[in-house]
Symmetry: C2
Subunit: 826 residues, 2 copies
């Protein structure tokens, strides 16, 4: 066991790519692990570490304590690991012993990667000491192990980022994380007894790591609970609370605050202020005389360290207990959307402990581990943040809540709403939109869009001559939408009515649904066997088309404007106009008053890529007939498909478009319906009755708008999004083309659609229609359990979805796993 | 001018009530004002103050500089105001002079309230000094004024909270704020030239004030932009960034960071980290020798202080410029809900700068002032936070964003969602609900509730025998709701269908609306002429009722269960059953499949109190007929009416109920639909098709759930909500009964409804129907402009709405203003 904890396999990954290429590792909760953060330098972190380690070594539990100092400067004169190694075992005598007998402590100290400037390399230290209380000859009742390690050490006693630069030993974050992850993963085997781990950070909570990343950010991915060593000096209340808030702003839980008593009663104030939040412990004054060997101080402090240990132990048990109970409780109390509860076994519920960038951390009840999983469904397609953006958003969310909370919107203006509107209008609304209407989610944005379109249609077609009067005879006029089969626009009734009938719109689900639309069958595009195919629905007669119309060497070709004069274009035009004429003849009181489409990709309908040529012609036809055009960009907007707005792919513009999901970076709900000035004009008059009388309480809530402002800018700023291809203002290819082609050639794959942040794979159905969907479910289970990819099946489609800033490396890693898994499934 | 700035009127408000009773004062932006915060003690705040003041005194502008030290300890030996007074004018010579001539500085220093322990009270100091550069006899070209003030001073050099306690001079927050507000309001008159103000805080950003409130919280209401004096020492990067984050978590803007160079390049790191956010200035090392008179240091630093001044000046101009442009831009880019843009003059747009508890701060373009306004519409009825809850929520929002961002919900569980569900089920859902379905807003919560009710009805009445098949013939069955005229349930189509026809549901607004309900006329209750009246609609025949059935001495009587056997009860029962039977006879294919009501108060319909007896009997009748009962508590829930759920007032329970608005404390959107286990059962089977297939991307988003967890607990915890009457688990009376009675007797008042956090007043309509509404609009204008009450009219109803924790004092202050205004309007 001891050897495992030596981390002897940890060779420094000098080629950073090998570290960077790894996904974050699991954190076993079977070993309680805490990080020691300081409110400042010089507040006694190492004394706390030594005292805590000693209290842990004292019987009865645990059997092994592992102490890690990832970053040490001023080495070898300063070595916190050596201090702990030297002092902690000797302090054992201070703690009350359970039962008789002596305690033998086998301890070691080792420094893994000293900088070249460190001249005298200390040897690895090993000692065995026995503390028996009264007599030396006492029988050894307990054997304990203490492992102390320093990861990276620099000569200069300055901040690691300066030392790293001066001494020519830079260390990338990924490397530190990789090594820490290994230390975390290295655990006790059954029967070894309990292992506790203590990680001591360097400097204050926000002191820079070698790369310049703040330490609170560096260690965030494993989100170890923290012990915050507070500051007992004058001003220490402020610095302790600020440090506490910095940790909260990174999503850390603080298990305990501990600080020195310097006669200013800082502890009393903190105890009262942090009441109900975190226990506060107070240590006797630390002798200032550097010659003092602290023996007396440690002796006085031992009871405090025992209390600290107890409170951390209790923190840890409560955490585990709660985590263990969450599956059962969620099954009993929650009502999940789109979920048949009877089909969800209690042990299949995913307990999510936290999120960090593209991954969330799931707690595995069986083996008590926190496992990072790549959020391949992008949490219902909402997610945009990498871990840096998440930190920025967290700070902004705190700021917006503190500055604004929420404030009333109509006839008012506040900076986040105005700024957000400006960014929308010069971004996704560029060259066409002039107004922004805020609401809460995609579904409400669609209902608003429909109301806008209908009004515009009514005004433009002389249906509402006198807008002041609401003539009941107008109720005989029926407004319908033109839409595509397989489209999805949300789950509120108005949005549902714009969708074709399906299981989701059945009487069972929504007795009020009637399907108020003319729904056309769209042609789709996909990759199969390394070739891009066009697939026409039976309703579009197609023996005129040759293979040069239906096969393409790449998806790019499909978007080519030269296709506007192809045979496919003629075929589409005649299909569309025939459908519209036929409808007009048979429904005299009905008007097609809006076109609504998801541009390019139909998401919920099964990740189908619609032939952009077809959509372009449809839009043209509607514009000719003065039918307002709505783009539902709830899914497709904000770089989901590699461009800020999917209208750039189609090459044409809407009259109205709807945004949500990615708009806020995926952190909080907010939606926007953008419209042209023409649409807005249809609501203007001198009467309130003609205004758009639709609103929600949190319209344009400052937190949502603040998040959107940050996210929209972040995605399109090359200094924060390295995926940007600035020349074409689109994302570079994220999914490896060769791998996608491989996938598309697998025998169990029916089609692949890969565009922007999306790579979707439809599995081949066997003779049994339900088979593919079962197949997808079991594949998804494997991906979750063995590959740490949290995918969610969409019928027989599985997909990977990343954020606009996710590195191509990460995408390749995930896609490789899916490929491997699919190969095995054959 | 000088005298005004002496604050000679500022007598210490020893009776705190007089300070506490004042609303927050306006902050004039005509005088640029900054607060100096320190990353820690001992980082040189006062040196920065002195240097900044000197740079400001240097010609050309401004003409007057006012420096304030609200809290000073260690007095009189330590007096930061004296230091500034002594040093700043002399430093003038360091700054380049514009044009020739000497500068005369008239300065004064005065300490207002020294503690009793301060033995030697320093005299008020006044000096006039002239700096002319070369010769003494030079002509005085510019005259400048420097006013230095200390507000409260204590003897001991410790934190103010300790000094205040030891020396027996406690100071309440309200008192400090009141004095600071006066200092802020005291400004230059036209022609006096520009005045700059500098407020220097004590200790670090989060050091306690005398009351124990953190200073960053104490000064939050005026939200002065900050200069953060950073820390150049080892560990100073961390403490500077943490302090910066603490200021952000209070909603402050930091105009500049300035710190001493201690050879550790902290400034370089901060410059890079804070790039794009805030300028960072670096000062030469401060001599450590206490005998050094700092002359050389100030001389070296003068160019840095000039830069600091420039960057603050530019910060201030940009702020004003943006604020001045926001009305115009909002008119051009935004599309407000429920607003006829043509009726909103550009200068009537309210520019909201921030919110603090129950007030938000509006920027008045005309006189460049930030004016706190009581948010009487509670920002569409969402607001719950007092200023303390807002701070807590801000920290929690930062934490939740950092820990979770957003994560997928179905088949998953995370702590905030689970905890929120637990709190809902043991709170508003107590004794009846067993499941929580999350969504985004009131409207979606209602659509979900309707889907739940319809399914339950269908299952319970044998309409869906085989839930697997969706037999199209069932489409011939029409499900309707039973609802009340005047009710409102949201603006999405499904929610609208459950409302009676009105201007909001017209063809103009929503061509798809048909009004799928049987809408009954409800009896209402109100106060007029100090008496509570019952008003019956014409459709309820009522000459059986005597005045003892229709007049009550108080609203409490109306809720009395003894009325269940009154003549009114009989009348209601027969009205209800007659309506139901009549409907059943004439609509054979239609089923009343749900009852939906806003319990007790109809909000959007005009703040009508519905006779609770009527609602109770209606519910009973529906329960008898196995019609599921939905409570729309979006408005009424979470103490809005003085109890956590309005069902407590009615004395009966629903099958389904909907919550939103106040649930998150009014900070971020979140909604919940609660249901009984019976309702949930109707969706269980072994098929996904029978599950409730309705969801939104941000379902149960962690930030919303985290806010709800905090708010729900905050409202019902007597340690945080002093309005709680624990014996009856309801809020104490917030609106002064006598005042309400007075109001109800005014000749221009038609009725008053006062319950819980709501006090609504309907104005009497004259002969002209539109008159009262115009009357309300002009009243609202007066309230906004002259009384600093941001009310919003609801037709001819004006109302005040506070939060569950708003003090009765504040309520009385606002109500008194409304009363006075209404009297004048007669």
């Amino acid at each position: 066991m001891l050897r495992r904890l030596h981390l002897r396999h940890a060779r420094r990954p000098r080629h950073h790519s090998s570290a960077a290429a790894a996904d974050a590792a699991a954190v076993p909760l079977s070993s309680p692990t805490f990080s020691i953060f300081g409110a400042n330098t010089g507040v006694g972190k190492t004394l706390v570490s030594a005292g805590l380690v000693a209290s842990l070594l004292a019987p009865p539990s645990p059997s092994t304590v592992s102490y890690l100092k990832p970053l040490q400067t001023g080495f070898p004169e300063d070595s916190d690991a050596r201090f702990v190694f030297d002092r902690a075992p000797a302090l054992l005598r201070l703690f009350p012993r359970a039962g008789g007998g002596a305690t033998r402590v086998v301890s070691s100290n080792h420094t893994l990667f000293p900088s070249p400037a460190v001249e005298t390399l200390p040897e690895r230290q090993d000692t065995v000491v026995t503390y028996g209380g009264e007599g030396d000859g006492e029988r050894v009742a307990v054997e304990k192990t203490l492992v102390c390690r320093t990861m990276y050490a620099w000569r200069e006693p300055v901040s690691p980022h300066l030392a790293a630069e001066k001494e020519g030993m830079p260390v990338e974050d990924e490397e530190v994380r990789w090594v820490v992850d290994r230390w975390l993963a290295d655990g006790a085997k059954d029967g070894d007894g309990e292992v506790w781990k203590v990680l001591e950070t360097a400097g204050g909570v926000a002191s820079p790591a070698p790369s310049g990343t703040l330490q609170c950010d560096l260690y965030r991915s494993s989100r170890l609970p923290a012990v915050l060593v507070g500051d007992g000096r004058l001003g220490g209340i402020s610095s302790t609370l600020s440090a506490y808030e910095t940790l909260m702003l990174r999503g850390y839980d603080v298990g305990s605050v501990i600080l020195e008593d310097r006669g200013l009663s800082n502890d009393k104030f903190l105890l009262s202020y942090l009441r109900k939040r975190v226990p506060v412990h107070v240590l006797p004054p630390i002798p200032e005389d550097p010659k003092d060997d602290l023996t007396d101080w440690f002796s006085e402090s031992s009871s405090v360290f025992s209390l600290l240990k107890d409170s951390l132990q209790s923190f840890h048990s409560r955490r585990i207990q709660r985590l263990n109970s969450m599956q059962r409780k969620s099954k009993d109390l929650l009502w999940w959307p789109f979920t048949q509860h009877d089909l969800v076994p209690v042990d299949s519920v995913t307990v999510i402990d936290s999120r960090c960038g593209e991954n969330f951390s799931a707690y595995k009840v069986k083996d008590k581990r926190i496992v990072p999983q790549f959020d391949a469904c992008a949490s219902w397609w909402t997610q945009g943040p990498d871990s840096n953006l998440q930190i920025e958003l967290a700070r902004d969310m705190g700021y917006a809540a503190a500055r604004y909370g929420h404030v009333m919107f109509p006839e008012n203006v506040h900076e986040p709403a105005l700024r957000c509107a400006e960014l929308l209008l010069c971004g996704v609304g560029k060259d066409w939109a002039s107004r922004v209407y805020f609401s809460d989610n995609g579904s409400t944005a669609i209902e608003i869009a429909l109301k806008m379109a209908f009004r515009k249609y009514a005004c433009g077609h002389g249906i509402l001559v006198d807008t002041e009067k609401d003539i009941t005879s107008e109720r005989s006029i029926q407004f319908k939408v033109l839409a595509l089969n397989g489209s999805y626009h949300g789950d509120t009734l108005g949005a549902m009515e714009a969708q074709a009938p399906s299981a989701y719109t059945s009487f069972l689900q929504q007795p009020w649904y009637s399907g108020r639309g003319l729904f056309l069958d769209p042609p789709t595009v996909y990759t199969r066997n390394r070739t891009t195919h066009l697939s026409l629905p039976p309703s579009i007669w197609h023996d005129q088309l040759s293979s040069c119309d239906t096969c393409f060497s790449s998806v790019t070709e499909v978007f080519c404007k030269t296709r506007d004069t192809s045979s496919a274009a003629n075929l589409y035009v005649s299909y569309i106009s025939q459908q519209l004429s036929q409808y007009a003849m048979s429904n005299s009181s009905e008007h097609i008053a809006a076109l609504i489409i998801e541009p390019v990709i139909q998401g919920a309908g099964g990740m189908h890529m619609i032939d952009p040529l077809f959509q372009r012609l449809l839009i043209k036809e509607c514009k000719n007939r003065k039918i307002p055009v709505i783009f539902d960009e709830v899914f497709t907007g904000f770089w989901r498909l590699g461009v800020e707005s999917a209208s750039e792919l189609l090459g044409c513009l809407p009259d109205i478009s709807c945004y949500a999901k990615l708009m806020t970076g995926g952190i909080v709900p907010l939606a926007a319906t953008l419209a042209t000035e023409d649409i807005f004009e249809a609501f203007r008059s001198d009467s309130k009755l003609t205004a758009l009388l639709h609103g929600h309480s949190y319209t344009a809530h400052p937190m949502g708008c603040t998040a959107a402002v940050k996210a929209i800018q972040w995605y399109k700023d090359p200094s924060t999004n390295s995926n940007l291809d600035l020349d074409h203002m689109k994302l570079k290819e994220l999914w490896d083309g060769a791998l996608v082609n491989h996938l598309s050639s697998l025998p169990n794959v029916k089609r692949v659609v890969s565009l922007g942040t999306l790579c979707a794979i439809e599995l081949k159905a066997g003779s049994d229609a339900g088979y593919a969907s079962l197949h997808a479910s079991s594949l998804v289970r494997k991906l979750r359990e063995e590959d740490n990819i949290y995918a969610r099946p969409l019928g027989n489609v599985i997909y990977l979805m990343c954020g606009p800033c996710t590195t191509r490396d990460s995408c390749t890693r995930q896609l490789t796993k899916v490929h491997r898994r699919l190969q095995k499934f054959n």
